[in-house]
């Protein structure tokens, strides 16, 4: 097991910049998830750690050793590919033992290693099959088995679950997490699925456009997204974003939404540990984007609520997603209660100030 240091990594294909200077320290035994939309450079970064892509600038160190110029075979890492990349002409056992055979490991040691991996992954009865005779989930397990037999310094996962159906994905997600618990191996996991990121990661690295947006624990990213991108990317259904104008006087701060709706910011400031005095840093009248997660909107609070019109109702079984309109603003609310509201009904809702996020409308950076 090892730590991985990524220092000022850049990647360019000709004039096209893919990664704009990534700095990241992955601690020994940590499970890091790189998450972002497609084209954000997360797979490129992973492949650079693996040695499958050249590094345009910067440095990657595994266990303190600079690996920029080392070929993949000398980096002692294992990778699970999205396509699994199993050798179709080899049996499951041969696929799993290939790396050990290349290293001229003794026959008994190989047998012990693949038996061990096979029983962890429940592959014992499939060892003589070829990949084409396996189901998607089984192939995925073989790909994982191929990675763990070697006890490498680090595991790299490149969207390993995206070719599985939803149920299998959930199951494998759990198995990967269990596997990480028992092996506590340094792992870097690439995905575009924020649920996978939230459930698996010790720390999430949110990437967009080749730039790190935020690094933190899953709940950090959920509770205090650093900018609009992270706020919109983490969480499902996505956070509501409402344009407004920040106002403050010496006594309090509030946000004017469209059509004269006013949201007091008092408690938000307290939660953020910001004095209302300090908050005055945000210029009075600045354009801000207010974010609130659908699950944090109170329905039927009684007093002090806004009157909103129900536009659409989406029952999810677990709860209900209500599409609401308040003045000129549309937003969603999620409630675990089964709603008996009908389209066109008017509901009283409240947006708890301590649950509000405020971002600079121009550059998307978190203000409060």
């Amino acid at each position: 097991m090892a730590s991985i240091d990524i220092v000022g990594i850049r990647k360019a294909y000709g004039a096209l910049q893919i990664l704009h200077g990534i700095d990241l320290t992955i601690r020994d035994g940590e499970f890091i998830v790189l998450v972002g939309p497609s084209g954000c450079g997360k797979s490129t970064l992973l492949r650079m750690i693996a040695g499958l892509e050249d590094i345009s600038a910067g440095e990657i160190r595994i266990d303190g050793r600079r690996v920029n110029d080392l070929p993949p075979r000398d980096r002692d890492i294992a990778m699970v590919f999205q396509s699994y990349a199993l050798y179709p002409h080899m049996t499951v056992a041969e696929n799993m033992s290939y790396s050990l055979r290349l290293r001229k490991t003794g026959r008994e040691k190989i047998a012990a290693a693949i038996d061990g991996a096979a029983s962890i992954l429940g592959l014992n009865t499939l060892m003589e099959r070829r990949p084409k005779a396996l189901s998607g989930g089984q192939r995925q397990r073989v790909a994982m088995g191929r990675a763990i037999v070697r006890a490498p310094k680090a595991f790299l996962f490149d969207e390993p679950l995206s070719n599985l159906d939803a149920r299998l994905r959930e199951q494998m997600r759990g198995e990967i997490k269990k596997l990480h618990h028992s092996l506590s191996a340094t792992s870097v996991y690439v995905t575009h699925d924020q649920i996978e990121a939230m459930t698996l990661a010790d720390r999430i690295v949110a990437l967009n456009g080749g730039v790190v947006q935020q690094v933190g624990t899953p709940l950090d990213l959920y509770d205090r997204p650093a900018n609009l991108f992270v706020a919109g990317f983490i969480g499902s259904p996505a956070m509501n974003m409402i344009e407004g104008r920040y106002r403050s006087d010496r006594v309090s701060a509030w946000v004017e939404l469209a059509e004269g709706l006013i949201l007091p910011l008092h408690k938000t400031l307290q939660r953020a540990g910001i004095d209302e005095e300090e908050a005055a840093d945000v210029e009075d009248g600045a354009a801000v984007t207010i974010g609130i997660r659908p699950e944090h909107i109170f329905l039927d609070p009684g007093v002090g609520g806004f009157e909103a019109t129900v536009e659409l109702i989406e029952p999810t079984g677990l709860g209900t997603i209500l599409h609401l309109r308040l003045g000129g603003v549309s937003f969603k609310a999620f409630s675990l209660e089964r709603s008996d509201a009908a389209i066109g009904d008017r509901l009283s809702v409240s947006l708890p100030p301590e649950r509000l996020h405020a971002f600079d409308a121009a550059d998307g950076v978190r203000l409060i």
Binding site: L52, R73, M79, Y87, H89, Y98, S99
Partner: protein, 311 residues
Amino acid sequence: MSLVASSSRHISGQRPLLQRLAMASEPYLYVAPALILIVAVMLVPLVLGLSYAFRDVRLLNPFSGGFVGLDHFRVLASDVAFARALKNTLLWAGASVSLQFTFGLILALLLDRPFRGRAIAQALVFLPWAVPSFLSGLNWAWMFNPVVGPLPHWAFALGLTSAPTNLLSDPTMAMWGPIIANVWWGIPFFAITLLAALQAIPRDLYEAASIDGANAVQRFLSITLPFLAPTIAITVLLRTVWIANFADLIIVMTNGGPADRTQIVASYIFTQAFRRLDFGYASAIAVVLLVLLMTYSLLIVLLRQSLLRRA
């Protein structure tokens, strides 16, 4: 099918004879066009050709044409020229195919990786394939000729030969003249087909193998070769049969000489048929060649099947 058949039998009692006949022949009429085509185009010439092998057919003898049974084959069994032609065919086909394959594979591997001007290089590599075989035969014959060609002088200058002589007139080496021409001419076939097969190999397998710790040679042996094997089997089969039957270059460059040293079975057939005008004997040789090549093809096809089953 059986349902239709039983129902037509059921009502056949009431139908007139002509209609019953038409119904009975219906399935045969459907397949007739294909059958007629196969019989006319393939079977009739084949059977005619085969029949010559058992008849005395000499164009210069108006009384020939009678059935001679296995006489041709008895003569053939003790024909020294045929035995030598058979040996030459092995050398000709074996050397040509293995060299074409080796160079074709090397070219395909080189062309499989991206570099500047790859499109032009590909076009150039495939150029010899477009040259008519007779033209390339003449061209190479001239190149080996010390009077007009540079090759003997180069070989002499490099110390390979003691004098700038014509390779094609050296009885011990003459076979290599057409072989070299054939290799030059046939490399593109292997390069094209192997390149296509190479490009069908998923890239991530190579990436997985390099992460697993394989170096370039190990990647070639454990991924490239198993993936290419079925293609290699089928192309080697096709080329061997084609080259064993391919006498153009030999006829043009050496005409079987000097002293029959470059005579292969195919050119021997050509000589018997069109020089001695003994079509019967030529057909008998052709039948022997056919049987040998069919046996060889069967072996290769079986090999390929087993390779495909493994993959």
